[in-house]
Amino acid sequence: MAEASLSRVTPPSMVGVVARKEFTEIIRDGRFKWTAIIMVMLLLTALATGWQKYTAYSEVQAAAQGETNHQWLKQGDKNPHSAAHYGNYAFKQAGPLSFFDNGIEPYTGNLLFMEAHKQNLAISRPANDSSAVSRFGDLNGAMILQVLMPLLIIFLGFTAFSGEKERGTLRQLLSMGVNQRDLLWGKAIGIGGAALLAIVPCIVLGALVLSMLQISHTADNFAARVGLMALIYTGYGLVFLFLTLGVSALSSSPRTSLIALVGFWAFSVFMVPKSAAEISKAVYPSPSWGEFQATMRADQVRGLDGVPTAAKLGKYVRELMKQYNVDSPTKLPLYFPAVRMQKLEEFDHEVFDHHYNGLRDTYMAQRRLQDAFGIMDPLMSLKSLSMGLSGSDLLHHDRYTRSAEEHRRMMVSKMNGYLSKAAVDLNGVSSSSNYMTADEAVFSIVPSFSYTPPTLEEVTKEYGSAFAILAAWVLASIVFAAAAVGRVRKVSA
């Protein structure tokens, strides 16, 4: 209470005094030292393994894409349509900040086979090639800040008011005329500063990693992404900081404040995310692989509109014959098998779009519903924002799979288109026995696969509401803490 008496000499700087007292008290505590050291070690390990995984993946991804592109060109002389069957693979890019938050990347396929006639699902999910223990969670920077940081803050701050209450020093402080707002902000700054001590080394290392990775050249608005990331995690930390102070002020003893806070932490970090996922599955059911394939295969035959594909094709052929004024498809000035295959391909597009977009929309709806749980759990909002900014969320995965499908359609129609013209030029007549081969020069009319991940603007648009909810949490927790601390005087008075 040397600090308190000091405050009488210099009344205006109460916030600073309280902050200094809290800060010094915490960093002198041996328990804090150990907790901080463990946390720094974990964060460093997480960032290091994240960085290692990111660079290893990016190298392999670029090499594999280069190799299959090469294989596409060097597949050997063959019919252009066969070349489309041979196809190519689209490999997924790692998100720009996925070394920090790899989001859903372990659970999404990172390669997609692009071939004639079929739209495929992305396959090769890292989680499928991992042991069951991987389901306990991934050790990465985001996980540590999302799960461990709040607990650290709780440990540092749960006695802030309840401890002083128990010791009787709070009454003393207030009787000296200390403004409780100063008290709140002072404690917030002191505890927040101590928590930062455990995180700053990692931020420095993170910055170092970033400068080494040189991803800033490829990602859209990279600096802004990093800045926003820092902002949302700070916001999340503030929510727990003020909740801790508020609960501490309301509690009669440190143990009740601890139990309440740890309970809320377990609730928000472990209970809500899983419950929200289960509930979203029940509200918006998504098909299993078997159902998805079965309905899609059936729709390919019977048509989405109930008109069988065979009937549609017949109608198309009749129109084509009428257009060219011929009485048999073989008399068309086009290589009919290629035209037919391309048309069938286009009929399938509708079916594929219906099913694949439906699947994506269901997933998005599930995710948005889970985001709504942000109202009772700030982590839900933070998670979505963090994944979005990292480029390891559904939005980025969807862009990848959609780009691959666009590329596939382009590849197939280029090959069929070439065949339909070149084959008929071959000997002037169109017949199914009119075959031809193409070589590398023809295959090279299909450009290599590449895609542009969503821009920062698209990310902020998708997750705007999550950001608003998180901001509301920050405000609400400050208001709550202020109100709780305000009540202290009434109780003590």
């Binding site: 294989q71 989680a127 461990l148 899983k274 419950s275 299993s288 078997g290 159902e291």
Partner: protein, 492 residues
């Protein structure tokens, strides 16, 4: 004295509103977990049924064509002919007479049925495809597919009963026991109790007995309830044997957390400090250590890159094509209906394509095996490292009990490969001989039936986890109770 304290503690506990809340939350969590995990398996079995029905429907249609054709041939007194493979419908004998067409253009789904207790732990079964399409085509291709689910949900993980037991139950236990002694000490009642002829250890034991009894009564009652509600094969002894092991593991795991609370209390710190230490240990055992074990095992035995695997299998494909096919053949093998020069040639292309498939499969099988081996090494490493955290031991034990372990899936895949070979054998011979398939032979088309592994195998895998838990719990309990000796009853 002993029973008096147990009775007193039980009565006091029963009147604590927080305990009521804890038990209510626990039962709600178990019920929610049972519902959630049973819906996962329901969805999977619906998927297996839907796609099996679709493919079986295709085959039934072929069979009906065949039966009609057979009738016609019998009536006219002719001989059955062998159809050319043709993707487009046409005249002549039906496709079903061609074993190659039936065997390569329809799929038969090999299904891994969930055990009766699958709902207890989802494990990796939300990721793996539990029904594999088998045809004459390359089987490695068929293993590429995964069960589909929103990756956001996969990341969140399942709210299954294993989650309730491994993650939530310890929290409830700690909430019930973090202040076992410290609260009495803080209230000053401990010194009073200790003035009676009872040792501190006996007091502690009786406090624990009442708590464990209440908690386990609820867990067992709701565990049995959950199994009755969402379990299956309840008339089989094996199901209940599995459930017995589940109970045993759960009891051991609960005692671990109670013993930890005793140990922390024995240090004689305040309730708040006990709370911090226990919450920290929970975080370490349940979250931090498992994720570190995961990082360590996947760093020691990294899965080979799927990306490399794809590049290599393409290489094999190109090589096979170069070897067997002229440039044009490839086209026809993709589109048999376009084959010029008669129907016999179409069959030749199918022959070629099957041979191609076989050589690609041969080329990439070693790569595939390397994947499996590496995954096995990872699993083996986890089996060794599991002893560092009771949560890992528990998870492995629960996956075994529920039949959602990696080993059971591997056993299933072995049977799938065998079935694929059987399927190929049945159709290839008939196809190569150009023997028209008859309805009589149709009845012999192989079907897949999963053969459950012997229970002794399950037990053998279950034992390390259970024994590990037992040893850890026994040691911790002994240590905790012996450290009570140094406990100071009265504040200095």
């Amino acid at each position: 004295m002993y029973s008096l304290i147990v009775a007193h503690e039980t009565r006091t506990l029963a009147k604590t509103p927080s305990l009521l809340w804890i038990l209510l939350l626990l039962t709600a969590a178990i019920a929610f977990g049972a519902w959630a995990s049973s819906s996962v398996f329901e969805r999977q079995s619906q998927g297996a049924t839907a796609i099996s029905n679709y493919e079986n429907g295709m085959r039934t249609k072929m069979h009906d064509d065949l039966a009609k054709y057979e009738e016609k041939v019998k009536a006219s007194g002719g001989k059955m002919e062998f159809a050319a493979v043709n993707h487009a419908p046409g005249e002549g004998p039906p496709q079903a007479t061609n074993a190659g067409a039936v065997g390569s253009e329809t799929e038969s789904f090999a299904v891994l049925p969930p055990t009766g207790l699958a709902a207890l732990s989802i494990g990796q079964s939300d990721l793996n495809l539990n029904y594999i399409p088998v045809s004459m085509k390359n089987i490695i291709d068929a293993t590429k597919d995964n069960e589909i689910e929103n990756p956001v949900n996969l990341k969140a993980g399942s709210f299954d009963i294993a989650f309730v037991i491994i993650f939530l139950l310890p929290i409830f236990i700690m909430a019930m026991s973090y202040d076992l002694l410290s609260s009495e000490k803080e209230r000053g009642t401990l010194a009073m109790v200790m003035s009676h002829p009872i040792s501190l250890r006996k007091l502690m034991a009786s406090k624990l007995v009442s708590r464990i009894a209440i908690l386990l009564a609820v867990v067992i009652a709701f565990g049995v309830g959950a199994v009755m509600a969402v379990g299956s094969e309840l008339n089989q002894a094996e199901t209940w044997a599995r459930f017995g092991f589940w109970l045993g593991a759960t009891v051991l795991y609960s005692i671990f957390w109670f013993a930890l609370a005793v140990l922390v209390n024995a240090a004689g710190k305040s309730s708040a400090t006990n709370g911090i230490v226990l919450a920290g240990s929970w975080l370490a055992f349940v979250v931090v250590i498992p994720t570190i074990v995961s990082v360590v095992t996947s760093t020691l035995y990294p899965a080979p890159s799927r990306l490399d695997f794809i590049a290599a299998s393409r290489e094999a494909q190109t090589a096979a094509e170069f070897e067997r096919m002229k440039a044009l053949d490839q086209y026809y093998y993709d589109h048999l209906e376009l084959v010029p020069g008669g129907e016999d040639k179409a069959n030749d292309f199918l022959t070629l394509s099957l041979a191609n498939n076989a050589s690609i499969e041969k080329a990439i099988k070693p790569l595939y095996d390397e994947f499996q081996n590496q995954l096995n090494r990872q699993e083996d490493a986890v089996t060794k490292f599991q002893f560092v955290s009771p949560a890992i031991m528990m998870q492995l034990a629960m996956n075994e009990v529920a039949g959602t372990s990696a080993d059971r899936y591997e056993n299933f895949m072995k049977q799938v490969f065998k079935f694929h070979a059987q399927w190929g054998e049945f159709f290839t011979g008939r196809f190569l001989k150009r023997d028209p398939l008859t309805t009589e032979e149709w009845k012999q088309i192989p079907t897949f039936k999963y053969v459950e592994e012997p229970f002794s195998d399950v037990l053998a895998r279950l034992m390390p986890s259970l024994l590990g838990l037992l040893v850890v719990v026994a040691a911790l309990t002994a240590f905790a109770f012996s450290s009570l000796r140094k406990y100071r009853v009265a504040a200095r």
